[in-house]
């Protein structure tokens, strides 16, 4: 009974490629997020969607484009991958402005 799931868990790709990471939550939440954890383990928010509407868009390169087809899904598409994009990407969800966010297992992206 996975609450927040991400696919794939590991992704190795070459510079210049385009890749997507998928996120799904079965908690009935209406707010979803993407966080990036860098090599020093620093976690920072990238995007937040509420009811499929973009709420937060931090200073992220426009090569990153989130897409929310419905409230249960928030996918992250990355164009023209760069070495610096290597990181662990976490999806999370919450019930509106409820204070608890539930995190997915993370996707380790390695760009070579």
């Amino acid at each position: 009974d996975t609450a927040v799931s991400q696919t794939p868990k590991y992704l190795v790709t070459q510079m210049g490629n385009d890749k997507s990471i998928k996120c799904e939550q079965n908690l009935g939440h209406d707010t979803m997020y993407w966080y990036k954890q860098d090599s020093k383990k620093f976690l920072k928010i990238m995007f937040s969607y509420n009811n499929k509407e973009l709420i937060i868009n931090e200073t992220v390169p426009n090569r990153f484009s989130p897409k929310s087809p419905d409230k249960a899904h928030l996918n992250l598409h990355i164009n023209s991958l760069e070495l610096g994009d290597s990181a662990v990407y976490f999806c999370a969800s919450s019930r509106g402005h409820d204070y608890e966010q539930y995190f997915g297992p993370g996707t380790r992206l390695t760009v070579t």
Binding site: T31, Y33, Y35, K40, K41, F42, L43, K44, I45, S48, N50, I55, I56, V88, F90, A92, S94, G96, H97, Y99, E100, Q101, F103, P105, G106, R108
Partner: protein, 116 residues
Amino acid sequence: AQTVTQSQPEMSVQEAETVTLSCTYDTSESDYYLFWYKQPPSRQMILVIRQEAYKQQNATENRFSVNFQKAAKSFSLKISDSQLGDAAMYFCAYRPLTGGGNKLTFGTGTQLKVEL
């Protein structure tokens, strides 16, 4: 902008002993939430404990408790009777009560080692 500072990159504790992890934060808001998350080697982010700033009583969850000092903007985590399974990276996080899109701001983390 809100910032969260964890000044201890690494801490060690003997099994069954008590350890305290430090966290300070900066905000101009009067109402907000504070959290401690645990990230074991499995990478999963696990919520350990949360504190509402409007509550004076310190939150407690079994062996985990916090010392919340609002005036000092300090939010430390105490782990009692440490167990091997407590070994993990611990992140302190801040979230405004309203506005900000429910954004969590994290500290840089403290790696906790538990020794036999």
